[in-house]
Each structure stands twice: as C-alpha cells, then as structure tokens.
C-alpha cells in the first residue's frame, strides 16, 4: 500500500456575495487561511490541485492560469481536477493520491466559485446533452425535484410527512449556520417560513434550496510521516469512494441511487465501518436541497430505505442527535459549488480535530464528508478520523 495521508490544515473565506474582491483574491483568502492553520508557508508546498465548476460559471477558462499567483502555484507542479458538483471531493481525493503516491509530501488543494458573477442555473443546464434533454431541463432544481418526487412515490411517503421532514432539515441547517462564521446565509427560519416560502419547483420552496455563493476553500494534505512531524492533530484520511452512473438522466434508478450508495460503501469498507449510524460521530452531507438530503441518508446507510423522514422527525440528524448532520449549516446555507465538496471535507477535518468552535460536535472522532455532481450522476465520499 501507498503512504497514509492526513489533512494538516484547512482554510475558508467568508462565503457570501463577495463583490469586494476579484476572483483570484477570493482564492488567495482561503489559501492564506489554510497555510496559517497548518503553520507552514508556500515554500513547504510541493504541489497544488485546483478545481472549480465549468468556465461558464464565471466566464474565465482554465482558471489554474488565472489563479497561478493566488493559489501559490508559481514554480510548482499543478493538477486541475473537475467533476462538476462533486469537484470538491474529487480534488480532495487527488490531494490524497498525490501525497499517498510518494510524488509529494505536502499538497495544497483549492476549490472555489464566484457564483454572483454568472448564471449558475444556465451553466448547470449546459451539463445536459444538447440533443435530447437540454431543451426541457430546468437546471439543478428541476432534476433534484424530479428525483425527490420519484423517491417519495416509490416509498409511499405521504406528501405532508415529506414536507414536514424537509422543513425540519431546513430549520436545523439554518440554526447550525448561526454557529459558523464562514456561512453565507445566517438567519434563523421557522417551520412555517419554510412551508410558506415561494415555490421554486413544486414541491420545493425557496428555503429548501441552497443559495448561490462566492467562496473558496483550501485544504492541505500531507503524507503520514510528514503530518506527524509538523502537525499536532492531523485529520487522517480513512476511506474514499467515488462513483458515477450513466450520463442520461432517466437511465438509472435515482430513488435508490447506486452511485451514492456504492461510493459510501467503498469508503466504509476502507475505513472498516460496518454500522455508519453507530460508528460515525458526525456527517457533512452535500445538501443543496432538503428533500434530497433524505435520499442521501438512506444511500449512506444512516437509516433504512424510505425511512429517512421518520428519522429526521425523531431528531436523529439534528445537533445533539444520534448522528449530527451538517453542523456547519451545510450546503443549504453556503454553496460556492466548486468549493462546496471541499468545504464538507474541511468541516469534517475540523470536527475530528476538535477545531470546529461553536459548531463542534463534542468528542467527534470519525466523520463523513460528501459531494454530488452532474445531473444526479456522481457521488464522492471521504471518511476522516482522529486516529491514524
């Protein structure tokens, strides 16, 4: 086997509408924060990985050129890895493999997006093929809503029960975001606020949906020996999994969602996890949509198929519950897409190293982080732990 790998530092920008900075400066903010957190300088970095959403998002192509100075990569080897919404997890995985391969000791991984500068949903629509599906696609909300409807129908989840559980997820994520100084949306909402919010794509309402954020995240990976030398409390990479289904939406069963299920299974088997609900202490699930978050719970084995609403209503995934999900406020309150999956990983690292501040889950030792991409096509999962 290759070298073990740990995360030795993380950094995030203040996420939100950031018209006070140009795009490279936003990236630099996250990189500087991560270097400071790890207590290293750019001189110590052997390689840099960048990932963002496609160029159409901000209208600049191949941003690893544009960000060369901002991400500290001048004179260094770089890799640019992208897999749509799952980019954040994929670049983290790349950082892992680079350090594990022995080709580098310290790898800086950067994810970013400046969504206020373009049209996110118009961009998402160009993920669909131009010949068949693009004409009738309605960006991410259209697809995620269709998937949620199919899931509720399949498992005979009554509409008001689904509605109640989804609203509860929105309320608890918004509550959690109040504890996170980086979060974009920091306002408390009530169950009624969610249920009466403007319809986006029925039955999904405004407060069931993530915002479009500007933000960047940087995570520093180190080979095991190096990590032990320079970091008191690294977050160890215990398991990673990534799977993708067919391109055309409609070909795979999205109520069961095998890419999400199998990516988690792969990561669990590497991490030696048999009963995730029992063994995991915290999860950062990629949740741009409340309804969809429940499908992930089922795919990840947090509860049986079709039972997620029951578990949500019992408070299983709330702060203080059996398996707190999204103590950061999640994607629902902050979504700079290219950074989002990496933010999940950074938040999981903060949790298992006890550095999550007001959003800390007491005594967290094992955490799941996740991101999803494409038209419900890709899922990436990373398990981090406090022990090697």
């Amino acid at each position: 086997m290759g070298k073990s790998v740990a995360i030795i530092g993380t950094g995030q920008t203040r996420h939100g509408r950031r018209q006070d900075v140009c795009y490279p400066d936003l990236v630099k903010e996250a990189v500087e924060a991560a270097l400071e957190d790890a207590g290293i300088t750019l001189k110590d970095v052997d390689g840099v990985v960048l990932g963002t959403m496609p160029s159409m998002m901000e209208g600049v192509s191949s941003t690893h050129f544009y960000f060369a100075e901002a991400m500290g990569s001048v004179g260094k080897p770089v890799l640019k890895v992208e897999t749509c919404g799952s980019t954040g997890q994929s670049i983290g995985h790349c950082g892992f493999f680079w350090a594990s391969s022995g080709m580098a000791d310290i790898v800086l991984v950067v994810g970013s997006e400046k969504m206020s500068e373009g049209d996110g949903q118009a961009t998402m629509n160009t993920v669909f093929d131009p010949f068949f599906q693009r004409t009738f696609a309605a960006g991410a909300p259209g697809v995620f809503t269709m998937q949620s409807m199919e899931w509720m129908y399949r498992f005979k989840i009554p509409e008001d029960k689904g509605r109640e559980a989804a609203a509860m997820i929105s309320v608890s994520n918004h509550d959690n975001a109040m504890d996170n100084p980086h979060a974009h949306i920091r306002t408390r909402v009530t169950m009624d606020d969610v249920k009466n919010a403007r319809i986006i794509t029925y039955p999904v309402r405004l407060l069931d949906v993530c915002p479009a954020s500007d933000g960047a995240c940087a995570v520093i990976f180190a080979s095991g020996d190096k990590a032990k030398k320079i970091c008191k409390k690294p977050a160890w990479v215990k398991g990673i999994g990534f799977r993708g289904e067919e391109f055309f939406y409609g070909e795979s069963d999205k109520a069961i969602w095998m890419s999400a299920t199998e990516a988690a299974k792969e990561a669990y088997s590497q991490a030696g996890i048999k009963d995730p609900l029992k063994e995991l202490d915290v999860a950062e699930v990629y949740n741009p949509f409340t309804y969809q978050e429940m499908i992930f719970y089922e795919c990840f084995g947090f509860c049986p198929r079709g039972k997620a609403p029951d578990y949500v209503l019992k408070g299983t995934f709330k702060k203080g519950g059996r398996l707190p999900c999204g103590p950061s406020g999640g994607t629902l309150c902050t979504n700079p897409i290219g950074a989002t999956g990496l933010i999940r990983m950074a938040e999981a690292a903060l949790q298992v190293t006890g550095k999550a501040g007001a959003r800390q889950v007491e005594g967290a030792k094992l955490a799941l982080s996740h991101a999803m991409g494409g038209v419900d096509q890709f899922n990436g999962v990373t398990i981090l732990g406090s022990e090697q």
């Binding site: 068949f132 269709m146 409807m149 029925y202 067919e246 055309f248 939406y249 409609g250």
Partner: protein
C-alpha cells in the same frame, strides 16, 4: 486607500458550436420526423434505451439492434418549473417529466402539456406519478426533440 464603491464589469459571452449527432442519433431524428420513437437494444443485457445508444454504457458492447417503442408511457416523475434563467429554451411555467415509454427501459425526458397551468392545484390533479401520457406530435416536423409538442395525460 479607501474605495467608495467597488466596480463591477458587465459582459456577455457568445460562442458558437457545431455539434455532431453522429450515426445513431441522426437515425433517431430521421425516424422521429416520421413520427416514430426508436431505441436500441443491448444484446447482452437486453435493455432498450431511448435516446438510442451505439453502445451499452453498462456492458460496453455495441448496440445496433433498432426497436420502435411506443409514443405512450408512464410518468416516472415530473417537475413544475417556474424558475427563469438565462438562455432557457422552454418558456416557463412548464412541466418537465421523465416518461417510461412502453417497450423502453429508460426514462425519456420531455414536457407534459395539455393541462391547465393557471393553478398549481389543477396541475397536480391532472399530472400524476404513475399516470399514463401520450405524445402529441407537431404538425410540422423538423427532426428535433420539438417534433413532439408535449405528452398529454391519457384520460
């Protein structure tokens, strides 16, 4: 140095592509223009896929057996779209749906029409998961996805 107001530059990008449909999809649209929906069948897993494929993504084998599927099927799922965005090709509000055509093993993306869109409750009464729908073909067909205007609930 103090900045009174941060500056924003507005810009639009327009680039033109010429995207090739290739053999399989060209044939699909030739038939579509004649009012037929064609899929291909995988000889190994025997699934019939629409849009047709020249190869099966799962078995990674050529798929060259053509099969005509019905223009009627079941709604697997649907979404009421009332969200505008740049370069949207279909006017809102509209209903996007996955339709499992009879004789086909994948969902076909299209729109559901012929229902009263003025009120969401009326839409919900008319469009049901598992409900049957049938294609309403355009009078003038051009060999594009719009040759079917929409799918309409079967009463």
């Amino acid at each position: 140095m103090s900045i009174e107001k941060y500056k924003i530059v507005e810009g639009q990008v327009k680039v033109t592509y010429e995207l090739a449909l290739g053999r399989t999809w060209s044939h699909f649209y030739d038939c579509f223009k004649e009012g037929k929906i064609m899929g291909t069948r995988c000889r190994k897993c025997s699934r019939v896929l629409v849009p047709p494929r020249s190869f099966c993504p799962r078995c990674f084998e050529d798929m060259d057996e053509w099969v005509e599927v019905s223009d009627e099927g079941i709604i697997e799922t649907w979404v009421y779209v009332n969200m505008p965005f740049f370069a949207q090709e279909t006017k809102i509000p509209f209903i996007s749906a996955q339709i499992r055509l009879d004789g086909c093993d994948s969902g076909f993306t299209h729109i559901v029409g012929g229902v009263d869109m003025s009120d969401l409750d009326k839409v919900r009464a008319a469009v049901k998961l598992g409900g049957r729908v049938k294609a309403v073909w355009s009078r003038e067909k051009k060999g594009s996805i719009r040759d079917i205007e929409y799918f309409e609930p079967v009463k």
